[in-house]
């Protein structure tokens, strides 16, 4: 089968690989029909995530058709079209039982801090991902959800990560009616977090980034304010000033390790890898939230350390909430929102690219060429 093949930082290609096999009684094999490149894939692509092995296939946002099931799989059948959440969850462990499906304890041997994630390095379990024609999907009765009839596959594929992560970012903000919410990052997750903040009753939503075409997009898509931090002296002072010098009630970091905007963070976090990515957005979030406010972090960072204003967290009495999205928990509600037209995820897709052109797709997304917001890879059998 055709599969994306990681060869080193900023080097990927399409290769022939053996088709996956059932390795566990609760496995399924899925023929991929859509697979996205996620902003967090860029951390792998840039070589920032430890234990990213050459030869691995990335891709944790995919949908497809079930072609084979293991003997213990009861809820799915061959031929089902499924949304596959990015996190691999057993549904039985202490954490899954609490709805923390992103923190499963039976899907990742290599690190205890994170559950298994498709195609996301050996630090997240060493699973090959969905930027391929076929994928092995463990615990097939737990995560995968049958795509409701009539749902556009482009909407469905964004329910694997972008929509739940954006929604959970807003949910973790504990937004109360009338709250001012500031979101750092106008990538797909930031855009969705801005849209979802309204669903929780936000009174004002402000997105801050530096990419003009994305700011323009989020302004229209989420009906929010959007500002370019390169046009400000200091984004934190800007937030303070626009909130009666108090700070925002809720601030969301939807950027993570690839942040720009602070030279020292960029050099130490992205160029020299002396910290687990550039913590610029998290830094700004802590400093621009009001005292007693909530910072919600969904931006992905590496597993080591970051330069972070911990003293201000204490002195301002800030609550920090963070996690990988619990996709399975959120899916029923989000499917409803898509079906009722409250959310329109597919509007984020700007590029539909043949799987064979995966290297170009990564480069376009990484370098933000051609006004790219979200690229989707389409394997030959789904075209």
């Amino acid at each position: 089968m055709l599969a994306m093949n990681y060869r080193g930082p900023q080097r990927v290609r399409i290769d022939e690989k053996p088709e996956p096999k059932l390795l566990h009684p609760q496995d399924a094999i899925v023929r991929v029909t859509r697979s996205c490149i996620c902003g967090s894939d860029l951390h792998l692509y840039n070589g920032n995530v430890p234990d990213t092995r050459v030869g691995m296939t990335f891709g944790h946002e995919f949908i497809g058709e079930v072609t084979e099931i293991g003997p213990e799989v009861q809820k799915l059948k061959v031929g089902d079209m499924v949304i596959v959440p990015f996190n691999i969850a057993c549904g039985k462990c202490h954490f899954c039982k609490q709805g923390l499906f992103g923190n499963c304890h039976e899907s990742n041997s290599q690190a205890t801090a994170v559950g298994g994630i498709f195609g996301y390095s050996h630090t997240a379990g060493g699973y090959d991902g969905g930027q391929a024609e076929y994928v092995r999907v463990p615990y097939a009765d737990v995560g995968p959800t049958v795509i409701p009839e009539g749902m556009d596959p482009d909407d469905a594929v964004l329910l694997t990560d972008v929509v739940p992560t954006g929604y959970q970012a807003a949910e973790m903000g504990g937004i109360q009616k009338g709250d001012t919410v500031v979101i750092f990052g106008a990538g797909p997750i930031g855009i969705m977090a801005a849209r979802c903040s309204w669903l929780f009753g936000a009174g004002r939503v402000i997105v801050i980034d530096k990419i003009e075409y994305r700011l323009e997009f989020v302004r229209n898509y989420a009906n929010c304010e959007a500002y370019n931090y390169e046009e400000m002296d200091d984004p934190v002072v800007f937030v303070k000033k626009t909130t009666d010098w108090m700070g925002a009630d809720v601030v969301i970091d939807a950027v993570g390790a690839e942040a720009t905007g602070n030279l020292m963070q960029t050099i130490t976090g992205r160029k020299l890898l002396l910290q687990a990515g550039s913590a610029t957005a998290a830094h700004w979030a802590v400093n621009s939230v009001k005292k007693g406010g909530i910072v919600s972090i969904v931006g992905v960072y590496g597993p080591t350390d970051n330069l972070f204003p911990l003293g201000n967290v204490v002195n301002k009495g800030i609550t920090i909430r963070a996690n990988q999205a619990s996709v399975k928990r959120l899916l029923p509600r989000l499917i409803e929102h898509v079906q009722n037209g409250i959310l329109n995820p597919k509007a984020l897709i700007t590029h539909r690219v043949p799987l064979e052109d995966v290297a170009d797709a990564y480069h376009i997304f990484s370098e933000k060429l051609d006004n790219c917001i979200k690229p989707v890879l389409i394997p030959p059998s789904a075209r």
Binding site: G116, G126, Y139, D360
Partner: protein, 163 residues
């Protein structure tokens, strides 16, 4: 798993006096079951056959019930990864060797390509075709800088040799 949670807190003055289950900062992200009070027990899923080398964190006692089988450790990078997994996730001796192993692995990948008779097309792998289509001036600039640096290096090395 044995339940090691003490059941009797009478020796701790004031224990639980201000407990407020509704003041759970993770609510509603976590459906609190309080199952931990009974100990950490769950019926483990069937164990996937371990017929490849699976490195596991020393912060857990076992290999998870399922695991990925992509690229088991091998070669020099594999040796470095095995060393890394002797140290906990709390230690730089875990993460920094892993990053080093990743870089060594890139070189191993190139050697492996050549061994299989494949010459890696670095330009295609880096997506330069997309640059040509969407960022032509940037690509030309990039090639210019590359040519300049290469020429400077060649001149410098040749000069040293001659002198």
């Amino acid at each position: 798993m044995e339940n090691k949670t003490p059941k009797d807190y009478s020796h701790i003055k004031g224990w639980g006096i201000d407990a407020d289950p509704k003041n759970d900062p993770t609510y509603p992200m976590k459906h609190r079951t309080d199952a931990e009070q009974e100990g950490y027990n769950w019926e483990r899923p069937t164990q996937q056959d371990i017929n490849i080398e699976v490195l596991h964190s020393n912060e857990r006692p076992n290999v998870s019930a399922v695991f990925g089988t992509s690229m088991p450790p091998s070669g020099l990078s594999g040796m470095i990864r095995r060393f890394a997994f002797k140290h906990s996730e709390n230690s730089y001796l875990h993460w920094l060797p892993l990053l080093m192993a990743d870089r060594v692995n890139v070189v191993e990948g190139v050697i492996d390509d050549f061994a299989k008779g494949t010459v890696p097309n670095i330009f295609a792998e880096k997506g330069w075709k997309a640059d040509w289509e969407h960022n032509r001036s940037g690509l030309i600039q990039k090639i210019g800088v590359l040519a300049l640096v290469t020429t400077a290096a060649v001149v410098l090395l040749t000069r040293k040799k001659n002198s």
